[in-house]
């Protein structure tokens, strides 16, 4: 299997997984979000650390991107 076929397979698998998880939209009630609201559960909870790391890595590696738009945690904007 070449890299391109492998990448399509990975993409398909991840999309199926996400759609499956999306089915349980009420799986976590507001009263159960104590741990999700903790700062360690927020993706990119320190924006300056994330941007400094991106800055270093893009000058050492050919790949780029992939950091999300932050968020997570309690699931509220």
């Amino acid at each position: 299997m070449d890299w391109r076929s492998f990448s399509k397979l990975v993409l398909f698998g991840v999309l199926v997984g996400v759609l499956a998880m999306g089915c349980g939209r009420n799986a976590v009630r507001a009263s159960e979000k104590q741990f999700l609201a903790d700062q360690v559960m927020t993706f990119d909870n320190d924006p300056q650390e994330s941007s400094a790391e991106d800055h270093v890595l893009t000058n050492r590696e050919g790949a780029a991107g992939g950091k999300g738009a932050g968020g997570g945690g309690c699931g509220c904007n």
Binding site: V14, M21, R25, E32, V40, F43, Q48, E49, R60, G62
Partner: protein, 415 residues
């Protein structure tokens, strides 16, 4: 007029909510250099202030700088270190963002300008996110466009193999700091257009687990070579020449799992990357966060990365003895096959003002100290058995056990 401005400022201050924030940090990056060339050192201070104006509007102002000093591989050849030269540079970057937020949604418009001796960044963009019903799923979309320009020698009429590299002596003239000014017969500013889009989906899976999927795409058009870098082709050393168009994409999956019994969390991050220059890469990161009491948070992490070479990349010996790969040639380490690793730790000291504000101002204050060790292992792009020169000295980075270190010190306050 002055009175009206004062009133507006007072009004803005009075309606600012407790979500206002300020963050300052300084990052030191030090990379080893081979052959007695000293090291590459980058000091990267950042400062950002954000304030909520009323319930629905946010305003952010940021500044960052790069003070760079060290040696650079201006010549790419079998022994790059013999032709390395030292340099210093200073880059300034300013950012402004205006956001609007509702009960479940948020949209932010931003503008960034950056300037240094030979490169000017002008970026505009926007990012939006919304919580879907149930508030367990957040969907985000972001887009940026860069109108960048880079300084180069004025040599458009020459064939690639005849072009000379830019040097530190060539003048890169500017007007108004962020506009390039060509110097006839000497230097020109060449455009680089960058379109970046990213879609993010964040999902609460259980009361202790969440998941994020990020899809990233970028198209770059314009002059993307390092104007200073030369490649040895036979007895000639022309400026590096790479394609003007690059399209790239990546997919990243991240999972956080909280462990209530330990007051800790495990983090997993995996990414796959691909582009039209045929650089294919992937990385895997594992991290562990542990609270010690209520005020101390420690995080340990390890990351491994590997990529393949761009389709026009050759090891230096083969460019020199066999000529180019089609019409292109490069000495860029980022386009070579490479393997790298990071191991590090971060210490966070959290102070919450229960009854009285911390330092009389902050509801919450965080002090961060982070350190990373980095390793880099170049891999042969071509047949090692046919390469008597080897690849150990084709890049300027050292071959020591630890290739680079990162130290970061930061202070984040909510007031």
């Amino acid at each position: 007029m002055q009175l009206r401005l004062t009133c507006l400022l007072l009004l803005a201050t009075s309606v600012a909510s407790a979500e206002d924030r300020a963050e300052v940090s300084t990052t030191l990056f030090a990379e080893q250099r081979d052959g007695g060339q000293g090291g590459l050192t980058v000091v990267h201070p950042q400062a950002e202030v954000g304030t909520d104006i009323g319930r629905h509007v946010t305003f952010d102002l940021g500044y960052a700088a790069d003070a760079v000093s060290g040696a650079t591989a201006t010549t790419f050849q079998v022994d790059a270190t013999t032709a390395a030269t030292t340099f210093t540079d200073l880059r300034h970057e300013g950012r402004l963002a205006l956001g609007f937020q509702g009960r479940r949604s948020r949209i932010v418009f931003s503008g960034t300008v950056g300037t240094e001796r030979d490169y000017i960044t002008r970026q505009v963009g926007g990012a939006a996110s919304i919580d879907l019903p149930g508030r367990n799923t957040t969907v985000g979309l972001a887009y940026n466009h860069n109108f960048d320009i880079t300084c180069d020698k004025d040599q458009a009429l020459l064939m690639p193999l005849e072009r000379r590299a830019l040097t530190g002596m060539d003048e890169c003239a500017k007007t108004g700091l962020i506009l390039g000014k060509d110097v006839a017969g000497m230097t020109v500013w060449r455009p680089v257009s960058i379109d970046t889009v990213q879609a993010t989906l964040t999902q609460n899976v259980s009361p202790t687990m969440n998941f994020q999927l990020a899809l990233y795409g970028q198209i770059l058009e314009g002059f993307q070579s390092n104007p200073y870098r030369r490649v040895r082709i036979g007895g000639n050393s022309p400026q590096e020449h790479i394609p003007d168009t690059r399209a790239r994409w990546s997919i990243t999956a991240r999972v956080n799992q909280f462990l209530p019994a330990l007051k800790a969390a495990v983090h997993v991050n995996a990414r796959f990357y691909d582009d039209t220059w045929r650089v294919i890469g992937g990385d895997l990161e594992l991290a562990y966060s542990q609270y010690i009491g209520n005020a101390l948070l420690v995080r340990f992490r390890a990351r491994a990365y590997q990529q393949s070479a761009a389709k026009f990349f050759k090891d230096a010996f083969f460019y020199e003895t066999e000529s180019t790969a089609g019409e292109y040639f490069t000495g860029d380490r980022e386009l070579s096959p490479v393997r790298s690793a990071i191991a590090g730790a971060k210490l966070t000291l959290i102070t919450v003002g229960e009854e009285n504000p911390v330092w009389g101002l902050f509801d919450k204050l965080q002090f961060n100290l982070k350190g990373d060790l980095m390793w880099l292992v170049p891999i042969a792009a071509d047949r090692p058995e046919d390469n008597p020169a080897g690849i150990d000295k084709q890049f300027l980075n050292g071959n020591g056990l630890i290739d680079a270190v990162v130290l970061q010190l930061g202070l984040l306050g909510n007031y």
